[in-house]
Symmetry: C2
Subunit: 408 residues, 2 copies
Amino acid sequence: MQSLSRRLLRQGLSSASSLSSKPIASAFLPRSYSIHADHATPRLQDMDASRLGVTRTLDPKPLKAPEDLIFGQSFSDHMLVVEWTAVDGWLPPRITPYQNLSLDPATCVFHYAFCAFEGMKAYKDASGNVRLFRPERNMARLNKSAARIALPTFDGAALTQMIARLCHIDDRFIPEYRGYSLYIRPTIIGTQNTLGVGPPGSALLYVIASPVGPYYPTGFKAISLEATDYAVRAWPGGVGDKKLGANYAPCIVPQQQAASRGFHQNLWLFGEEEYITEVGTMNLFVAIKGKDGVDELVTAPLDGTILEGVTRDSVLELARERLAPKGWKISERKMTMHELAEASDENRLLEVFGAGTAAVVSPIRNISWKGRLVSCGLEDHSEAGPLTQQIKDWIEDIQTGVTESPWR
Amino acid sequence: MQSLSRRLLRQGLSSASSLSSKPIASAFLPRSYSIHADHATPRLQDMDASRLGVTRTLDPKPLKAPEDLIFGQSFSDHMLVVEWTAVDGWLPPRITPYQNLSLDPATCVFHYAFCAFEGMKAYKDASGNVRLFRPERNMARLNKSAARIALPTFDGAALTQMIARLCHIDDRFIPEYRGYSLYIRPTIIGTQNTLGVGPPGSALLYVIASPVGPYYPTGFKAISLEATDYAVRAWPGGVGDKKLGANYAPCIVPQQQAASRGFHQNLWLFGEEEYITEVGTMNLFVAIKGKDGVDELVTAPLDGTILEGVTRDSVLELARERLAPKGWKISERKMTMHELAEASDENRLLEVFGAGTAAVVSPIRNISWKGRLVSCGLEDHSEAGPLTQQIKDWIEDIQTGVTESPWR
C-alpha cells in the first residue's frame, strides 16, 4: 500500500512540473475504515515541513496594479499541496506552480461537502518583512473543522512554517502599502472517489494566496443589515462554530434576498427570542450604554452556533486590555434583537460593527427588523463610530508591525 | 461574452476527446450578479436535450463480475456533462467518456460547499428494457436543492431524457439479474473560481453511473441503531430537507461513534422531546399497534428537517393504496423516542424499517437509547418482518416491471 500511494504521489505531483496547465492528480486509495487493524500497516506520518519540495513556476504572472486588486479574484504564482491517505498519513508536502486540481467526478468533496477552510492574511511591515497574524489560531480552528467532518488533522506549526515559505516565495505579490496584504486560503477537501457515505480514505490540503487591497480603500462605508428570521444559519448540536464549506452555500439566498431589498448583508437571528448571532460572514459586536450608565461591548457567546472568529477573539482581548481599565464592561453574552432595538430607541446604542478577517471591522448604520429600521448610533454624516475606528487602528497597527505584539 | 464562453466550452469539452485520462476543463467566467442588467446579454437558454452531443469511449472498461460490484465503487464508460454560466444559461450538453474534472483550486465547490446531488436507479426488465423509477421526483428535488444554494435550475424532463440516453449507451453495465441496477448520480456543483462568498456565476451539472448489486445479496440483514442526542442533523429554517452535500459530511462522526459501539447506523433525534427524524441516510418508518388496537404506519412529517425521500413517498403511496383498505392508519406525524420505546415495552411495536434508494427498505432490529436497547419487534431468528418484506416486494416489482405502474 505504501509503495502504491508513493507511486501515485510521484505520478501526481511530479506531473505537476512547472507548467501550470498540467493538473495535480491526487492519489486515490481505497477507503480504509480501520487504519490500525493491519499490523503490517506503517505508522501514520504527520505533516513534515522538513520534506517540503519546491517546484518554481517558469511562467511568472504579471503583477496587477494595486488599485485593480479585487478580493479573491487573482492568485499568486504558487500553491502549497499536501496529500493524505488513511494508509500512510501525510505525504511529503510540495510547493508547486498554481494549477488546476484533477479529480474523479465521484470524489466525495463534490457530493458530501467534505471541505473546510481558513482565511488569514500576510502583511509586509515597514522593513519589508512578511508577517502572519495569529496563525496558530487558524491552524487550531482548521484542525477542529477537519476533525468534525472526519478529515485528518495535522501539525499546525508545520503547516504555518510552510505557509510562511509560500509567502516568502510569492512575496512580490504583496504591495508595500498600508492596507494591502496577501489573503491566504488554507483548504482541506476529502478526495476519496467512491460514493459510499463514510469517512474519506484520502484528503488533500492545499493553500492558495490572493493579493488584496484595503477593504475600505476610500475610508469606512457603514453598511445596512436585514435581520433574517425565516432561515437559520446554525443551531445547538450543529456545526455552525466550524469553518466548514457546509455553513456557507446555504447562506447565499438569504443574503441575496436582503440585497434585493437594498441591504448589504443579512443578520442571523436565532430562536423565538431572536438572539443576535452573526452578520453575513462576520461576528457582530454591539456597544451600548447600559441602563445603569455603564458602557458595555457585547458579542454573542461561543455556544456552538457562532463561528470562533480570530478577529472576534482579537477584539475581545484588546477590549479587555485597553477598554476595561477605562470602565467598559466586556461581555460575551446573548443579546436579543429586542434589547438592541430598545437601546436604540433610548439613545443608548453607541455603535455596532462586524468583525472578520476580510474587513477587520465593518461599521453598521442600521438594521431592518420587523418592518422598522433600527438605527445603530451613527450620525448621518459619519461612516464609523470612534470605537470602531479605534479597534481597527489597534489591530492594523499590530498586523503591519507598527505596534509590537506576540500576535505576529 | 457568449462567444468567449463558447470558445471555452469548445476548448474544454472537445479536449475531452475519447481519452479518459484527459480532464474536462470547465468554463470559468467572471461572476455576474445581475444577469439581466445588460440589455445586450443574450436570453438565458434552458437545458436542451436536442443539442446533446455524444463522444463514445475508445477504451471500454471490462465488466466486473456481478458478485464483485460494490455500491459506488466502479463506474460505467460514460458521463453526462452540462455547463451553465450566468451569462449564457445552460450550454449544449455532452455525453463524454468518464473522466476527471479539472478545476481551479479557488473553485467555490471546494470552499463553500456549492454541491447538491440525487440518487436514482435504472433497472432492466424481463425484456431487457431499461427503466427509470420515478425520475421526475428526483428532477424536482434536485431543482429545489440547487435553488436553495443559488445554483441554477433546469428543465427536469430534458435531463431525464438525457439520463435515459446515458443509460442506453451504458446498458451493458446493468446485469440482467433481479436486484441489480445502475445507480445514477446526478450532481450539480458551483464552478466559479473566485473566493468572494456569493452566488456562483458558473456551474457544472454532471451525471455518473455505477452498476450495483442487491443491497442484501443473501437476504435481509436487520440492523441496530444508536439514537444520537448529542448532535443535531437539521433544524427548522435550515436545509435538512434538501439533498445538499452540506447535510452529509457533518453526519460522519456521529455515525463513526455509533459504529465504534457496535451499531450499524445512528438515529437522529430532535429537540427535548426527542422526536424521531431520520436514520443515517434513510427515512424511518415505524409500524405500531395503537392503544386503541388499530395498526398504524408512522413516518416523520415534512417539516423542513426531513429529507423528502422518493422511497418514503413511494412507501406512503403504496401503504395508502394497499394497507389502508385493510384497516391500517397511515400517518405522517411526529413520534418521540419515548412513544416508540413504550410501544416496544407493551409489545405493540410491530416493525421498524429505514427507506431509501440504496436499500429500498432496511429492517431494524433494535435501537440503543439512554443506556437501554429498545427491541423493534423482530423475533431473534428473523431478519425482517412481514410488512417490511411486503413493501420491498411491492416496490421492486414495480422497479423491475413485474407490476405495471406509472412510476417507471
